[in-house]
Protein backbone atom coordinates (compact mmCIF):
# COMPACT_ATOMS: atom_id res chain seq x y z
CA UNK A 1 0.00 0.00 0.00
CA UNK A 2 1.27 3.46 -0.85
CA UNK A 3 1.32 6.27 1.70
CA UNK A 4 1.87 9.94 0.87
CA UNK A 5 3.58 12.10 3.47
CA UNK A 6 3.82 15.86 3.03
CA UNK A 7 7.37 17.09 3.51
CA UNK A 8 9.07 20.46 3.79
CA UNK A 9 12.24 19.32 2.06
CA UNK A 10 13.67 16.91 -0.42
CA UNK A 11 15.18 14.43 2.00
CA UNK A 12 13.79 12.00 4.55
CA UNK A 13 15.35 14.11 7.30
CA UNK A 14 12.98 17.00 6.53
CA UNK A 15 10.03 17.68 8.76
CA UNK A 16 6.37 17.07 7.95
CA UNK A 17 4.71 19.93 6.12
CA UNK A 18 1.72 21.12 8.09
CA UNK A 19 -0.33 21.86 4.98
CA UNK A 20 -1.49 19.44 2.35
CA UNK A 21 -2.39 21.45 -0.75
CA UNK A 22 0.61 23.80 -0.62
CA UNK A 23 3.24 21.52 0.87
CA UNK A 24 6.72 21.64 -0.61
CA UNK A 25 7.20 17.95 -1.44
CA UNK A 26 5.25 14.72 -1.37
CA UNK A 27 7.11 11.66 -0.13
CA UNK A 28 5.38 8.58 -1.49
CA UNK A 29 6.30 5.52 0.50
CA UNK A 30 5.41 1.97 -0.50
CA UNK A 31 4.85 -0.13 2.62
CA UNK A 32 5.34 -3.42 0.75
CA UNK A 33 8.53 -2.75 -1.18
CA UNK A 34 9.93 -0.01 1.07
CA UNK A 35 10.46 2.18 -1.98
CA UNK A 36 10.42 5.96 -1.63
CA UNK A 37 9.52 8.49 -4.29
CA UNK A 38 9.87 12.22 -3.73
CA UNK A 39 7.71 14.51 -5.82
CA UNK A 40 7.91 18.29 -5.81
CA UNK A 41 4.50 19.89 -5.49
CA UNK A 42 3.72 21.95 -8.61
CA UNK A 43 0.77 23.61 -6.82
CA UNK A 44 2.89 25.11 -4.09
CA UNK A 45 2.40 28.71 -5.16
CA UNK A 46 -1.02 28.30 -6.76
CA UNK A 47 -3.42 31.16 -6.21
CA UNK A 48 -6.33 28.82 -5.61
CA UNK A 49 -7.31 25.22 -6.18
CA UNK A 50 -4.01 23.90 -4.82
CA UNK A 51 -5.80 21.25 -2.74
CA UNK A 52 -7.84 19.55 -5.46
CA UNK A 53 -4.87 19.68 -7.86
CA UNK A 54 -2.65 18.04 -5.24
CA UNK A 55 -5.30 15.38 -4.64
CA UNK A 56 -5.23 14.54 -8.34
CA UNK A 57 -1.46 14.29 -8.32
CA UNK A 58 -1.47 12.02 -5.28
CA UNK A 59 -4.43 9.94 -6.50
CA UNK A 60 -2.65 9.30 -9.82
CA UNK A 61 0.07 7.53 -7.80
CA UNK A 62 -2.59 5.21 -6.32
CA UNK A 63 -1.95 6.35 -2.80
CA UNK A 64 -4.32 4.92 -0.17
CA UNK A 65 -3.31 7.01 2.83
CA UNK A 66 -2.07 10.57 3.30
CA UNK A 67 -0.22 11.85 6.36
CA UNK A 68 -0.22 15.63 6.76
CA UNK A 69 -0.67 18.33 9.37
CA UNK A 70 -3.93 19.66 8.05
CA UNK A 71 -6.38 19.17 5.21
CA UNK A 72 -8.43 21.94 3.65
CA UNK A 73 -12.20 22.11 3.40
CA UNK A 74 -12.38 21.30 -0.31
CA UNK A 75 -10.18 18.25 0.05
CA UNK A 76 -12.02 16.25 2.66
CA UNK A 77 -15.07 15.41 0.59
CA UNK A 78 -12.88 14.78 -2.44
CA UNK A 79 -10.67 12.29 -0.63
CA UNK A 80 -13.73 10.65 0.89
CA UNK A 81 -15.18 9.94 -2.52
CA UNK A 82 -11.80 8.59 -3.68
CA UNK A 83 -11.62 6.41 -0.56
CA UNK A 84 -8.23 7.75 0.48
CA UNK A 85 -7.57 7.77 4.20
CA UNK A 86 -6.48 11.03 5.84
CA UNK A 87 -4.20 11.02 8.85
CA UNK A 88 -3.86 14.37 10.58
CA UNK A 89 -0.57 14.41 12.44
CA UNK A 90 0.12 17.77 14.05
CA UNK A 91 3.75 17.35 15.03
CA UNK A 92 5.77 19.98 13.11
CA UNK A 93 9.02 18.76 14.68
CA UNK A 94 8.77 15.16 13.47
CA UNK A 95 10.71 14.07 10.41
CA UNK A 96 9.40 12.08 7.48
CA UNK A 97 11.79 9.33 8.46
CA UNK A 98 10.16 8.95 11.87
CA UNK A 99 6.72 8.65 10.26
CA UNK A 100 8.00 5.91 7.96
CA UNK A 101 9.49 4.23 10.99
CA UNK A 102 6.11 4.38 12.75
CA UNK A 103 4.32 2.96 9.71
CA UNK A 104 6.72 0.03 9.63
CA UNK A 105 6.52 -0.80 13.29
CA UNK A 106 2.85 -1.19 13.95
Amino acid sequence: MKVAITSTGQSLESTIDQRFGRCAFFVIYDTETGGVEILPNPNRDAEEGAGPASVQLVASKEVKKIVSGEFGVKIKSLLDSLKIQMVVYKEPEKTVKSVIYMLNNK
Binding site: S77, D80, Q85, V87, V88, K90, M102, N105, K106
Partner: protein, 194 residues
Protein backbone atom coordinates in the same frame (compact mmCIF):
# COMPACT_ATOMS: atom_id res chain seq x y z
CA UNK B 1 -37.25 37.48 -2.87
CA UNK B 2 -35.03 34.61 -3.76
CA UNK B 3 -35.57 31.25 -2.07
CA UNK B 4 -33.19 29.86 0.52
CA UNK B 5 -30.30 27.89 -0.91
CA UNK B 6 -30.60 24.12 -0.67
CA UNK B 7 -28.97 22.68 2.40
CA UNK B 8 -26.24 20.21 1.50
CA UNK B 9 -27.14 16.64 2.42
CA UNK B 10 -24.55 14.51 4.14
CA UNK B 11 -23.92 11.21 2.36
CA UNK B 12 -21.89 8.82 4.45
CA UNK B 13 -21.98 5.76 2.25
CA UNK B 14 -21.92 6.32 -1.51
CA UNK B 15 -23.09 3.39 -3.68
CA UNK B 16 -20.58 0.95 -5.13
CA UNK B 17 -22.43 0.85 -8.45
CA UNK B 18 -23.53 3.62 -10.74
CA UNK B 19 -26.93 2.34 -11.83
CA UNK B 20 -29.30 -0.40 -12.93
CA UNK B 21 -30.39 -1.48 -16.40
CA UNK B 22 -33.60 -3.38 -17.27
CA UNK B 23 -33.48 -6.52 -19.34
CA UNK B 24 -36.10 -8.41 -21.37
CA UNK B 25 -39.18 -6.31 -21.91
CA UNK B 26 -40.94 -5.11 -24.97
CA UNK B 27 -38.95 -2.04 -25.87
CA UNK B 28 -37.28 -2.73 -29.20
CA UNK B 29 -33.68 -1.69 -29.75
CA UNK B 30 -32.02 1.47 -28.68
CA UNK B 31 -31.09 2.61 -25.23
CA UNK B 32 -33.87 2.46 -22.66
CA UNK B 33 -34.87 5.80 -21.18
CA UNK B 34 -33.13 6.83 -18.00
CA UNK B 35 -34.15 7.96 -14.55
CA UNK B 36 -31.53 9.98 -12.70
CA UNK B 37 -31.59 8.98 -9.06
CA UNK B 38 -29.62 11.53 -7.04
CA UNK B 39 -27.05 10.36 -4.51
CA UNK B 40 -29.06 11.88 -1.66
CA UNK B 41 -32.09 9.86 -2.82
CA UNK B 42 -30.03 6.70 -2.89
CA UNK B 43 -28.78 7.50 0.62
CA UNK B 44 -32.29 8.07 1.97
CA UNK B 45 -33.46 4.72 0.59
CA UNK B 46 -30.40 3.08 2.12
CA UNK B 47 -31.03 4.62 5.53
CA UNK B 48 -34.81 4.21 5.69
CA UNK B 49 -35.36 0.91 3.90
CA UNK B 50 -32.07 -0.92 4.23
CA UNK B 51 -30.87 0.14 7.66
CA UNK B 52 -34.48 0.55 8.89
CA UNK B 53 -33.98 3.92 10.50
CA UNK B 54 -37.02 6.10 11.04
CA UNK B 55 -37.21 9.47 9.38
CA UNK B 56 -36.08 11.32 12.51
CA UNK B 57 -32.92 9.24 12.79
CA UNK B 58 -32.22 9.32 9.07
CA UNK B 59 -32.63 13.10 9.04
CA UNK B 60 -29.97 13.43 11.73
CA UNK B 61 -27.60 11.19 9.80
CA UNK B 62 -28.05 13.27 6.65
CA UNK B 63 -27.95 16.60 8.51
CA UNK B 64 -31.27 17.88 7.17
CA UNK B 65 -34.64 18.48 8.77
CA UNK B 66 -37.15 15.68 9.12
CA UNK B 67 -39.64 17.19 6.62
CA UNK B 68 -36.85 17.66 4.07
CA UNK B 69 -35.83 14.06 4.49
CA UNK B 70 -39.40 12.90 3.94
CA UNK B 71 -39.59 14.94 0.75
CA UNK B 72 -36.35 13.43 -0.55
CA UNK B 73 -37.68 9.99 0.36
CA UNK B 74 -40.95 10.55 -1.52
CA UNK B 75 -39.02 11.72 -4.57
CA UNK B 76 -36.72 8.71 -4.43
CA UNK B 77 -39.63 6.27 -4.24
CA UNK B 78 -41.41 8.00 -7.13
CA UNK B 79 -38.30 7.74 -9.31
CA UNK B 80 -37.65 4.10 -8.48
CA UNK B 81 -41.31 3.21 -9.05
CA UNK B 82 -41.22 5.00 -12.39
CA UNK B 83 -38.16 3.04 -13.43
CA UNK B 84 -39.62 -0.30 -12.34
CA UNK B 85 -43.02 0.20 -13.95
CA UNK B 86 -41.97 1.75 -17.23
CA UNK B 87 -38.75 -0.23 -17.59
CA UNK B 88 -36.30 2.68 -17.48
CA UNK B 89 -32.71 2.37 -16.45
CA UNK B 90 -31.64 4.00 -13.19
CA UNK B 91 -28.52 6.15 -13.16
CA UNK B 92 -27.30 7.17 -9.70
CA UNK B 93 -25.56 10.52 -9.88
CA UNK B 94 -25.69 14.15 -8.88
CA UNK B 95 -27.53 15.85 -6.08
CA UNK B 96 -26.74 18.53 -3.55
CA UNK B 97 -24.52 16.50 -1.29
CA UNK B 98 -21.20 16.25 0.46
CA UNK B 99 -19.40 13.11 1.54
CA UNK B 100 -18.52 12.53 5.12
CA UNK B 101 -16.76 9.85 7.11
CA UNK B 102 -16.17 8.96 10.72
CA UNK B 103 -13.13 10.50 12.42
CA UNK B 104 -11.06 8.83 15.09
CA UNK B 105 -8.34 9.96 17.43
CA UNK B 106 -5.37 7.82 18.42
CA UNK B 107 -4.21 8.32 22.00
CA UNK B 108 -0.88 6.66 21.22
CA UNK B 109 0.52 9.26 18.81
CA UNK B 110 -2.28 11.88 19.13
CA UNK B 111 -3.06 11.81 15.44
CA UNK B 112 -6.53 12.09 13.91
CA UNK B 113 -7.63 9.87 11.09
CA UNK B 114 -10.77 9.00 9.16
CA UNK B 115 -12.09 5.72 7.87
CA UNK B 116 -13.02 5.80 4.19
CA UNK B 117 -14.48 2.27 4.35
CA UNK B 118 -17.56 3.00 6.46
CA UNK B 119 -18.48 -0.58 7.24
CA UNK B 120 -15.10 -1.34 8.86
CA UNK B 121 -14.46 -0.07 12.36
CA UNK B 122 -10.71 0.44 12.79
CA UNK B 123 -9.02 -1.40 15.63
CA UNK B 124 -5.50 -0.03 15.31
CA UNK B 125 -4.11 3.39 14.48
CA UNK B 126 -3.01 3.61 10.81
CA UNK B 127 0.13 5.49 11.84
CA UNK B 128 1.57 4.01 15.01
CA UNK B 129 -0.48 0.80 15.29
CA UNK B 130 -1.64 1.57 18.80
CA UNK B 131 -5.05 0.19 19.74
CA UNK B 132 -6.02 3.17 21.90
CA UNK B 133 -8.53 4.68 19.54
CA UNK B 134 -11.48 6.86 20.44
CA UNK B 135 -14.21 8.43 18.34
CA UNK B 136 -13.35 12.01 17.53
CA UNK B 137 -16.18 14.51 17.63
CA UNK B 138 -15.15 17.84 16.11
CA UNK B 139 -16.15 20.86 18.18
CA UNK B 140 -17.57 23.75 16.24
CA UNK B 141 -15.22 26.49 17.38
CA UNK B 142 -16.95 29.16 15.32
CA UNK B 143 -19.70 29.46 17.98
CA UNK B 144 -18.28 30.41 21.38
CA UNK B 145 -20.08 28.66 24.22
CA UNK B 146 -21.06 31.88 25.92
CA UNK B 147 -22.72 33.27 22.82
CA UNK B 148 -25.05 30.35 22.26
CA UNK B 149 -28.72 31.22 22.58
CA UNK B 150 -30.66 29.60 25.47
CA UNK B 151 -32.72 27.74 22.88
CA UNK B 152 -29.58 25.85 21.84
CA UNK B 153 -28.98 24.45 25.31
CA UNK B 154 -30.72 21.58 27.10
CA UNK B 155 -30.77 22.05 30.84
CA UNK B 156 -31.72 19.90 33.83
CA UNK B 157 -34.35 21.78 35.89
CA UNK B 158 -33.35 20.18 39.18
CA UNK B 159 -29.53 20.20 39.25
CA UNK B 160 -28.66 22.71 36.54
CA UNK B 161 -26.68 20.32 34.29
CA UNK B 162 -26.35 21.73 30.76
CA UNK B 163 -25.60 20.23 27.39
CA UNK B 164 -25.81 21.42 23.80
CA UNK B 165 -29.18 20.80 22.22
CA UNK B 166 -29.06 18.47 19.26
CA UNK B 167 -31.36 19.37 16.38
CA UNK B 168 -34.28 16.99 15.78
CA UNK B 169 -33.72 15.35 19.17
CA UNK B 170 -36.34 16.14 21.80
CA UNK B 171 -34.85 17.22 25.14
CA UNK B 172 -37.81 15.65 26.90
CA UNK B 173 -36.62 12.23 25.72
CA UNK B 174 -33.26 12.63 27.44
CA UNK B 175 -32.45 12.28 31.09
CA UNK B 176 -29.84 14.14 33.11
CA UNK B 177 -26.70 11.98 33.56
CA UNK B 178 -26.16 13.53 37.00
CA UNK B 179 -29.52 13.27 38.75
CA UNK B 180 -31.71 11.38 36.26
CA UNK B 181 -34.48 13.92 35.77
CA UNK B 182 -35.99 14.97 32.48
CA UNK B 183 -34.10 17.66 30.53
CA UNK B 184 -35.73 20.70 29.05
CA UNK B 185 -34.75 23.60 26.80
CA UNK B 186 -33.08 26.47 28.66
CA UNK B 187 -35.27 29.19 27.17
CA UNK B 188 -38.39 27.35 28.38
CA UNK B 189 -36.92 27.11 31.86
CA UNK B 190 -36.09 30.81 31.88
CA UNK B 191 -39.62 31.62 30.72
CA UNK B 192 -41.03 29.55 33.58
CA UNK B 193 -39.06 31.49 36.17
CA UNK B 194 -40.49 34.81 35.01
Amino acid sequence: MSPRPTRLRRVSNPPGISGFRPYGGTAKGGQPQSVFLHLEEYEVIRLCDHENLNHHEAARVMDVSRPTLTRIYAKARAKIADALVTGKQIIIEGGKIYFDSEWYKCNGCSCLFNQPEKSVVPDICPLCGSSEIVNFVPVDESIPVTRRAPSDICVCPSCGYEKDHEPSQRCKDEVCPVCGSQLMRKNNLLAKDI
